[in-house]
Symmetry: C2
Amino acid sequence: MRTSLCDELGIEHPVFGFTPSEHVAAAISRAGGLGVLGCVRFNDAEDLDRALTWMDENTDGKPYGVDIVMPAKVPTEGTQIDLAGLIPQSHKDFVQQTLLKLGVPPLPDGEGGEGVLGWLHSVARSHVDVALEHPIRLIANALGSPPTDVIERVHAAGVPVAALAGKAEHARRHVANGVDIVVAQGYEAGGHTGEVATMVLVPEIVDAVDVPVLAAGGIGSGRQAAAAMALGASGVWMGSYWLTTAEYELGNSSTQEALLAAGSSDTVRTRIYTGKPARLLKTRWTEAWASAEAPEPLPMPLQNLLVSEAHLRIARSDDPSVVSMPVGQVVGRMNEVRPVAEVMTDLLAEFDQTVKRLTDLNR
Amino acid sequence: MRTSLCDELGIEHPVFGFTPSEHVAAAISRAGGLGVLGCVRFNDAEDLDRALTWMDENTDGKPYGVDIVMPAKVPTEGTQIDLAGLIPQSHKDFVQQTLLKLGVPPLPDGEGGEGVLGWLHSVARSHVDVALEHPIRLIANALGSPPTDVIERVHAAGVPVAALAGKAEHARRHVANGVDIVVAQGYEAGGHTGEVATMVLVPEIVDAVDVPVLAAGGIGSGRQAAAAMALGASGVWMGSYWLTTAEYELGNSSTQEALLAAGSSDTVRTRIYTGKPARLLKTRWTEAWASAEAPEPLPMPLQNLLVSEAHLRIARSDDPSVVSMPVGQVVGRMNEVRPVAEVMTDLLAEFDQTVKRLTDLNR
């Protein structure tokens, strides 16, 4: 399973692994793929710097990348206190009442924190600044093409830019803006995602642009990787599947328990996580937001600020039935905890078997 | 592109073509696939008999099948007049007002008709009776496994039964009921469809049952067929893609115009066609039903009776912007009218190229 991207990026296999965990990202890179560290959880650029320094020391010199969350248009900006003033009281009340109903305890005194600020443009820019001080081989943007000046800076450092797209017209726009690799992310993917499924979206984007396309959404096995490559992709982009790897340390046991138990029908695409449609695990938390009395989610970045304390409380509550977690429909295949290297070895072996099986169909 | 199903059914290629047109179905069979005629539009069993007799004379002795719409549980049954009494006046008013707003003229005096009765259990049973008097090689059921007695009768005639499934648990139940072939139909498919996308659903169902699985949803090219086979399918089931073939004669020019112009984002999954979730072309008609003042769609078979006159009026209105038409996301690839044989030849050639390309990736 080799494409021209392997030579361009210095990787063995065109398997791109997005993860918020530097431990998982490093393991993906060590296994011959490209680990891509999600930066949105780093409010403080120094924390990101420490994580990347750790990766520099733990990737055996293998390439890795980072993923930022930066809209092309600068959205509402400001400190958390400025923004909090834009959140209606009725929304805050709904969140508090829902947590009470779901039995999610308050945080211990003194805990709390500032929420996730990575959705802010200024913070995402600080992630780029820090990342470029490390030997990164890719910057990907979860919200399409970054602003042109950011693309130019990244290119000046000799680093290619990847951007997620859920429609062919978005992919065309990204490439016109200077993006080097398009990640065609289908409906079934976890996190921010569009309405067109991977099977339809990937060939449409491959035909629409003249840069390498990675397929994302629904990929967790060698058969699925082979399907993605059959559709014309130059590589696969996997996010959800690493959430149940042994190296993943960011979650707590209730999150992992919920993911291992979930089937492919147990996800929902909703705006409640960030204000933009994103696929989450279906739990009592997402069901509460789907009820008749729930308010409409707020636009990005307000929605994430609204629910950020709730996310902390939910994470501490240790109750699998209320987890708030982005994950794709491939969660149905995530039924045991395995090391990253084993996931990669199995995927590549099944890919080989699949290609042989397809060849035999034509005999 | 050969699998064991080819030998079992006497076909050249494992390409199953569902279509309401006997002209298209016959052309698919002549081209080496298995044409599967949708029966739901035949209110009168004699009309179906005539269509199948025509197919017997126009398929060069090649195998073909039929598709019925029969829930395993018998739903509300009765004559159209009995059932019409169960439809709330407010629903009828909404339909009339919407057609007025959309500028859809009434039917000429004397026209009207009885609506589509194929959704009724008794009518679907009459379709089975008629079909078994012809040399059919497959009966497929769009709504899962038919009742056990129907399966037994069909088996006694030496004909295998296929059933559509949108979840692995449905597929397991179908096979336990005696179904021989499962059609794993993903979210992106046209008509009745579930929420799990083809990329995730197909391998899940392949792993869940020990009968051949056909992949449906999002397939209209050789790359997509190769992806489906990579996922473990024993063949592909295509429905939407034939709607813009030259042999298709059931639609009117406005329907075809709307399909040719639509992109992959121009569909919507909604209950307004039959009462069960089905993917339709997104038009001013579907948008009206998505508005705040629209009522909830009625359960099957009432919803289809409610809108059946509207469908006739819409079809006669010759306005592409109000078409009511089931179609999958693959509509984005349906951009020109082509003969069935050409579609088949191109699909097979692209399949071959794709398998060669995949083989090269492993060198």
